[in-house]
Amino acid sequence: MSENKTVTMIITRQDHPDESSYEEKFEIPYRENMNVISALMEIRRNPVNADGEPTTPVYWDMGCLEEVCGACSMVINGTPRQSCTALVDQLEQPIRLAPMTTFPVNRDLAVDRSRMFDSLKKVKAWIPIDGTYDLGPGPKMPESKRQWAYELSKCMTCGVCLEACPNVNSKSDFIGPAPLSQVRLFNSHPTGEMNKSERLQTIMDEEGLMGCGNAQNCVQSCPKGIPLTTSIAALNRDTAIESFKSFFGSDQRV
């Protein structure tokens, strides 16, 4: 009985980064507990489209298969999310798969998320502790703070928040919510806090914090439930204080 049941998928494909995209329809045999990735694997096993014509296997990115790495993000029935946790039984058919539009497409559903990693470098999303001698143990972190900071550390740079943001598009250079929240994470760390001002200065421009328009789609869309808009509002406060200090002077900077 179950041999007759099929899953219909309409996939937006692109053969080359410079070529235009096209849609291809697939009918694949249904199995119980399928996710989008196992459906894509089925196409890879037998690359024949719904018209019965042989085609190239659909290409996509994946890594951990447990929603921790962020590599398999794509737009599934209009919603950007990870394909590993998108269960076929819970999706309306035909299942429409498309690459995220915010990023350049490498091939088919695989996109190049380099801009996010560049942003992490730009905002200095790390704690510099390298030196010529042992600095000893760092300052302690209060448990209550560690708990919410841990939530921010769940970010897997998947790109869903950038895809959901109306201000991240071809007309703007806004880096998006994910790298901003990382600034808050590293500024909250007792050792990272020593470079707080430096990190804040890097996001005090239009591509940074000022690119936010408070549409708050990011916090609704984040698969890890990271309080992105709380981070942005907290950074708004921090940068307001930072600009006050840097203009009028403070005990850290004359």
Partner: protein, 206 residues
């Protein structure tokens, strides 16, 4: 740093929308509300505002320059957004788009309104009194044009006030942002009433 100017512009845009433009808006609607007490009361209030000392300085620095900056930079902000309501129909995303649409409507409305009143008065084509507004608003087209313009302005201000509280890091927690949403709705309803009530007075004399 290349971006510093962008930072200052955006901060200034947010600040000017509330101080002084938002404050001026409330003052303007309040003075106009004198119309509901009859033509004499309105004329007296308008004349008082008209005869404030160093009026041109006040008008330039409290109204025209801030408004010019806020509107020009605002058009730029509005056109760098790309609406994605079809896939993300969340409340705040709607507010985000409405804020941009009402910004453009408000700009068109205010440009026309300033031309028809302040500039016309400045050139001596009109006189500032109750009958000037009565003449404009008894025409049905302009009555509805003003209704749309005033409500668009009050929405843009109320929702902008919500954004202002976030942009300056006053409301950080989701709870405080939610309560501010309710507060902004109440502000919107209250000042819209003041504005619309005045328009009805001018148009229908009731």
């Amino acid at each position: 740093m290349a971006g510093t100017r962008g930072y200052v512009n955006r901060r200034l845009h947010s600040l000017l929308g509330v101080v002084p433009i938002g404050i001026f808006l409330i003052q303007h609607l309040t003075v106009n509300y004198f119309a509901t007490r009859g033509p004499e009361a309105f004329n007296a209030a308008a004349h008082f505002m008209e005869s404030l000392p160093y009026r041109y300085v006040l008008e330039t620095f409290i109204i025209f320059l801030p408004l010019l900056f806020h509107s020009i930079y605002g058009v730029y902000i509005a056109f760098t957004a790309k609406s994605n309501l079809s896939n993300f129909g969340y409340f705040r995303n709607w507010m985000f788009i409405f804020q941009r649409i009402t910004g453009i409507i408000t700009l068109i409305f205010i440009a026309w309104h300033v031309w028809e009143t302040r500039i016309a008065i400045g050139f001596g084509w009109a006189e500032l009194n109750y009958s000037l507004m009565e003449g404009i608003l008894t025409e049905p087209f302009f009555f509805w044009f003003y209704i749309v313009g005033v409500i668009s302005t009050t929405f843009h201000f109320s929702n902008g006030l919500w954004s202002f509280f976030v942009s300056w890091g006053i409301t950080v927690s989701p709870r405080s942002q939610k309560i501010m949403t309710y507060a902004s709705i109440i502000i919107f309803l209250a000042i819209s009433y003041v504005g619309v009530r005045t328009l009805i007075q001018f148009a229908y004399g009731i």
